[in-house]
Amino acid sequence: MSLNVEEKLPNPKAGSVLVIGGGIAGLTVAWELARLDVDVDLVEKSSFLGGYAIQFCCKAADECQKCGACSVEKRLLEVIQEPRITVHLKSQLKEISPNGRFSYTISHHPLCVDPQRCTNCGLCLEKCPVPGAIVRGYSKNNMPLYAVDEAKCLYFRDGSCRLCQKLCPEKAIDLDQEPHRISKEADAVVVASGFQAFDPVHRPRYGYGINRNLITALDLERMLREKGEVVRPSDNKVPEKIAFIQCVGSRDHQLRHGFCSQVCCGYAMRMAEALHYRHPEIEVAIFYMDLQNCGKNFSRFYETCKDHIRFVRFMPGDIFQGEEDQLVLCYANEQDGHAMRETFDLVVLSVGIMPGASNVGLADMLNINLDKHGFLASADSLDDTSTSQPGVFLAGTAQGPKDIADSMAQAGRAARKVAHHLRAIDGSNEQENFSG
């Protein structure tokens, strides 16, 4: 057996890889593969890379709380600077034939904003008559920074408005671009299509959507990221009392969600600490069943949190409307069991990680399995990146709930499995050539 490294490392021209999903897992797989000199096509269905994680705020108090949001920022910057990675925004996989090599077709929706011309002046967003029809990325590394949401834009509805195109001083907007399809081939596929956050509408007794001061943790992440502070949506004032409700959508056997989302306790505690740091006068309570760990030395972190946060072991079943847009939670006092009614200015629902909407379609196209909850199932109990199909690998929350750090680690493993696969097929090609 030869020990020559030169022969054993993957051939730099070993092939190209399709990565589905541009969230933190997809970005990491793509970047790790590029570092191995493999070409990558990164397909992202939205207008921006970074998925949910790029929307998260820094939760540092005096010191870093290890939420990992800054790692996403860094990884995104690395990916957009990496020439081996071809990014396809507003694109979706339409067909794929798994026959050794993967022949696939992706549909591209027009970006409408030319990244070369756009100077990020923001005039389009400012002047657009329909809220949400022009959207802005979350990071400076989301380029172009502005995008047109076809579902809301009047031009795409009935052709009645072209204001942004007319106003853009750089002529960077072109609404008439046609969608098109691209067909390519890949030697391996990594599914990193991510999750969808639980929609609290499915827990109607919370009344999400009725009171504006009932928000999801994702809303709070975005608010802290954009404004740097927390305010009540109803009056833009800093709330005096905030409640977090854990396990919204997770560990919910009524909804057949018999799994823990693994991230919510961590983000709620970290955000609560960040809120306390920024506004020490705010009272924060967390309603929970079982607190899950986050990061290293959780015991110590939890002890610190207890100094600033009230932890209430009770899951309020209903949320009632109070006066002045306040919200009322009812719960049993842990000590004597007495019923309590408590009023809050803002209630945050710690929504869980649910299987991605595209999982069913992807599983079908790629001929891989779903687990009983609807996540993509791994085929090896010791390797959660493997699937039943050779050359198809999993990374990130498409496979199951996990935090940023675990998504990145799993993505690294997936990249290694891909490299291994490429070497194997490269070897077999060589053998074929040799015998031919």
């Binding site: 490294v5 820094c58 990992g68 800054c70 990020n120 069943m289 010791l382 680690a409 499995k417």
Partner: protein, 568 residues
């Protein structure tokens, strides 16, 4: 719009590089399943692994890990293959006693019994297992025939149900205590749930679990927990440790149940006490030998997201699996693959292209005081007749350059001359408001500043930024120079504590700002003109807020004395 962010001018043209040889041997410390897998993967890529363990065998049962106990076949195949692999040298009853050198060329000394011998390796992987420690003492209990540790009950349950005679011994009520002394983790919880379930289903006993938080943040655990409850395992969730009396063989447990709201007394036949996972007994010693930092519990990785998943403060030394954080085999093997990626980048095919010069040490100025050696967070500095900085190990933070009392160390891309020229140039620009100079760590504040600009946030008009590789590079001289050049105020912006890629860069920066403030007040300048703050790359709003606050303060103070004098 005014450009708020000034990019560093490329001073050196095409960088000269050199190729250095990288040793393709890799030391793997710890012969558990993660260490074995790492050695195997490396050997498969053509590296040569030296696998050392201070025990007398590889693998081990690790009965606490369901991934190990349920994958016996796969693991024994792996063990066979590693024993047969030519590219793996297995050294048992062997300890690592010292390590010197640089990544790609570490010299190690190993001790096997009385014999000490040397090897050269390019990289090191630490794959120590965690140490399961019974918390019986913490619960005020003595080990006894009816007070078992979690490992004890697992050994009992390892036998077939008909052979283990739990009921036959008259044991009917079995109580588990877990997570009441300290917050446990899913690995600990899974052991308890599996044992309780097994006893309940196969032995006809009643299993009861006293627990605080049921830790289920791991794939499949919620389902397992649910199944155990459906089969009749009882769970009481307590806020604090229950009162346990152990009187001879009589056990009595009293606690207040927060669901029933009354006191409960249990008199179990057997009590099973949890085990916590502590760092391996060798971890502290190994951290010293390897020059790597630990976290607050003693696991071999600082609590800093930039090191995740497997890096340490020292290039070329990686920590995997339960060496860095208690974890199951699945996650341990994820670490293995990530380490292999890192080692591929570092050692490649045995050659690495590096910048010919990253840092210059001035021979005439260096007095071998070794300040740099002491402050380098990456262990990148050694010495002969002057300080020698390893190009591979050096991460370019510049803490050494900032601390060197002789100014003998210069970063090629960020020399004192370059930075001072930038300070002068930036202060020559006209500005309407107070002139603020901000030293920005490239990893955090500089990104935040750029982000604020892209998002059209209105930062102060008189703001100028200077990018530094790490806030730890900011010298007191730079700060004074900025004031001399006409700054009304100076800010040093660093990463948050525990988020500095060089661990201590922010701490050094904070100290130096303190020093400089003292100097300012000595020469009669308001020390409020200088401030230190921490920030992250994704905090453009905070960047604007911090700089605006400084601007407001400077408006109240008026132009600096130096600028007023210059104007007069």
């Amino acid at each position: 719009m005014r450009s708020m962010v000034q990019t560093n001018k490329k001073t050196s043209q095409a960088k000269s590089t050199e190729d250095i040889a990288m040793n393709r041997n890799v030391l793997v410390v710890g012969g558990g399943w993660a260490g074995i897998k790492a050695a195997c993967e490396l050997a498969g890529l053509g590296y040569r692994a030296i696998l050392v363990d201070d025990s007398t065998g590889l693998g081990g049962e690790a009965s606490f890990d369901h991934f190990v106990s349920s994958n016996g076949d796969k693991l024994s195949t792996l063990l066979d293959s590693i024993n047969a692999h030519q590219a793996v040298e297995i050294l048992l009853s062997t300890r690592l006693v010292s390590l010197t050198g640089v990544p790609g060329d570490f010299r190690i000394r190993l001790q096997q019994y009385d014999e000490v011998f040397e090897r050269s390796v390019g990289a090191v992987i630490v794959a120590l297992e965690a140490d399961p420690v019974s918390l019986a003492g913490e619960y005020g209990l003595q080990r006894a025939a009816n007070v078992l540790s979690q490992s004890d009950i697992e050994s009992v349950l390892a036998a077939a149900p008909e052979d283990r005679k739990l009921l036959g011994n008259g044991f009917k009520d079995i109580v588990f205590v877990v997570g009441l002394h300290e917050e446990e983790n899913p690995l600990v919880m899974e052991r308890t749930i599996r044992s309780a379930l097994e006893i309940q289903v196969s032995d006809g006993c009643q299993a009861t679990v006293l627990v605080n938080n049921v830790k289920l943040a791991e794939d499949g655990l919620e389902a397992l927990y649910k199944r155990s409850r459906e089969t009749g395992v009882l769970y009481f969730k307590l806020r604090e440790k229950s009162q346990i009396t152990q009187n001879g063989s009589n056990l009595r447990i009293n606690f207040f149940d927060t669901v029933l709201h009354h006191n409960v007394e249990l008199t179990p036949d057997v009590l099973v006490v949890e085990e916590a996972f502590r760092p391996h007994p060798q971890a502290t010693r190994l951290a010293q030998v390897l020059g790597i930092d630990t976290d607050s519990e003693g696991f071999l990785q600082p609590d800093n997201v930039h090191f995740l998943p497997v890096r340490t403060n020292r290039e070329g030394i990686y920590v995997i699996g339960s060496a860095r954080q208690p974890c199951n085999l699945m996650h341990g093997w994820t670490d293995v693959e990530n380490t292999v990626l890192e080692i591929r980048q570092l050692l490649g095919k045995g050659k690495k292209r590096v910048p010919a010069e990253k840092v210059k040490v001035h021979r005439g100025k260096c007095t071998l005081c070794l300040t740099c050696v002491r402050v380098c967070p990456h262990n990148a500095i050694s010495w002969d007749n002057r300080a020698v900085i390893s190009t591979v190990a050096c991460q370019g933070c510049g803490i050494c350059a900032g601390e060197c009392p002789m100014d003998a160390i210069q970063l090629v891309d960020y020399s004192d001359d370059q930075i001072e020229a930038q300070i002068s140039a930036s202060m020559d620009k006209e500005a309407d408001g107070p002139r603020i100079l901000v030293f920005c760590c490239q990893n955090s504040a500089y990104e935040a500043a750029q982000m604020a600009q892209v998002f059209q946030m209105s930062a102060p008009d008189g703001l100028q930024t200077i990018k530094v590789p790490c806030a730890g590079k900011v010298d007191v001289d730079y700060i004074l120079k900025a004031f001399r050049a006409g700054a009304d105020g100076v800010l040093v912006l660093a990463c948050h504590k525990d988020n500095c890629k060089s661990q201590q860069g922010n701490t050094f920066a904070g100290w130096r700002v303190e020093d400089a403030r003292r100097l300012l007040s000595e020469i009669g300048m308001e020390e409020e003109r200088l401030d230190f703050a921490t920030i992250a790359s994704n905090m453009p709003v905070e960047f604007v807020r911090i700089t605006r606050q400084m601007e407001d303060k400077l408006r109240q103070l008026g132009p600096s004395r130096i600028r007023r004098q210059a104007a007069a």
